[in-house]
């Protein structure tokens, strides 16, 4: 099994790692007993993701895809962000070993969950 240089880079030096004060939306997906869990937080202005942070428990692929999805989503509108697929995340990272593919799903789902959470709060507010 071998990770691409880009995966290793995003894993060793993850971008957008951490938490923020008062996020507008929060997604939590995965389950530690399955080996990975991800929390993603977004700040939204004018339907656009202006800040995004994550925390991930998991293997190198889980951490790298988490970090990449936050990079890709930043500054996208919510609709654009929802278009992001795990394939795109994978491709941006130069591919993943076959047995690690499922990790990129976590990232996609995490982002979706965060947007979902933001929108349901908006509905609650409106």
């Amino acid at each position: 099994m071998e990770y691409s240089d880009k995966v290793m880079d995003y894993f060793m030096n993850p971008k957008n790692m951490g938490t923020m004060e008062e996020p507008d939306g929060v997604g939590e997906v995965g389950n530690p007993s399955c080996g990975d869990q991800m929390t993603i937080q977004i700040k939204v202005e004018d339907d656009r993701i202006v800040d995004i942070k994550f925390k991930t428990f998991g293997c190198a692929a889980a951490i790298a895809t988490s970090s990449m999805v936050t990079e890709l989503a930043r500054n996208k509108t919510l609709d654009e962000a929802l278009q992001l697929t795990n394939q795109e995340v994978e491709e941006e990272l130069g591919g993943l070993p076959p047995i690690k593919r499922h990790c990129s799903l976590l990232a996609e789902e995490g982002l979706e969950a965060a947007i979902e959470n933001y929108r349901s709060k908006q509905e609650g507010n409106s």
Binding site: Y3, K55, C59, I99
Partner: protein, 391 residues
Amino acid sequence: MENSLIYLDHNATTPVAPEVLQAMQPFHREQFANPSSPYRIATEAAQARETAREAVAELLGCKSQEIIFTGCGTEADNLAIKGVGFARRQQGNHIITTKIEHHAVLKSCQWMEKQGFELTYLDVDETGRVSPEQVERSLRDDTILVTIMHANNEVGTVQPLQEIGELLADKQAYFHTDAVQTAGKIPFTVEDLKVDLLSISAHKIYGPKGVGALYRRQGTTLQPLLHGGRHENNLRAGTENIAGIVGLGAAARLARKNLAESADKRVAELRDRLEAGLFEKITDLKFNGNRNHRLPTTVNLSFNYIEGEAMLLHLDAHGIAVSSGSACTSGTLDASHVLLAMGVPVELAHGSLRFSLGYENTEADIQRVIDLLPGIVRKLREISPLYPGEQ
């Protein structure tokens, strides 16, 4: 890069020792003949094979005719289990093993179930030990084989084989042990363990990959797994890997010398230092295994809130090679079946590292891990949504 490598994964495999490599050298191009042939240069190869057989027999404290050379430890395990199963079907249908066996044993047993055999998979306690009483309770009139590993590759827990062997002494069931992790690493003989069959593998003790052996007590009925020529007393066909066999012989001699010089004790001291150093510097650390009955080479720890592979790759970036779970099961994403059988919670099983030391490791190697790992753990815990922060 290789120069500065700190290798702490000796339970996965070891480098071939210089004296082993040298012993093998003449058998590639000079004494290359097929030892089954009747001409002189073939006789030399056959003699080298028999000298190697004696060296292995001396390591295990058995007769040289009781050694069958195989292509790896996995093959020795498969040969023991399937070989006994098919040979003794008349006598019975029941096989006992444990939940923490290496996959070479576990998957062989599962395959035997598909062939109509009945299997009992014994539980272990939280230190990874089987209880002899439980073995006794599981025994049936139709039990033909009990196979329990000597020491576990992931956590290093050594099983009470002698006690189990004693209670099997007057039973019809044969007693097999997978001693791939103990042969040459701790001192014992097949008489100590009271086993009928015992598997070893060269590459775990500074020998070459691609050669193993099965000890088979005289009179123990066995069917071959590989059919063909009449090699290895009709029990394992295939032109003998003479260089490999000579390498296993040389590795066995080296292991005896190391044991005589208490190299196992020295490595245990280093291992204890590593363990103490990590416990001192890292919080939320869990020890996996049995401190009283353990391989001298091995320590297995679970690092709460973070995942094993992530730690492993950070260490790798510093030239330190360790394992998370068993190397043989990587390619799978399941948590270690051994840790789960010991009752380790799944998250903690995912967050385990195995350090397995070898004779060439130094205090400096250990110190470097103690210096580096706490920072890596801190960094990964910061990324982890599970980590509550320092309490």
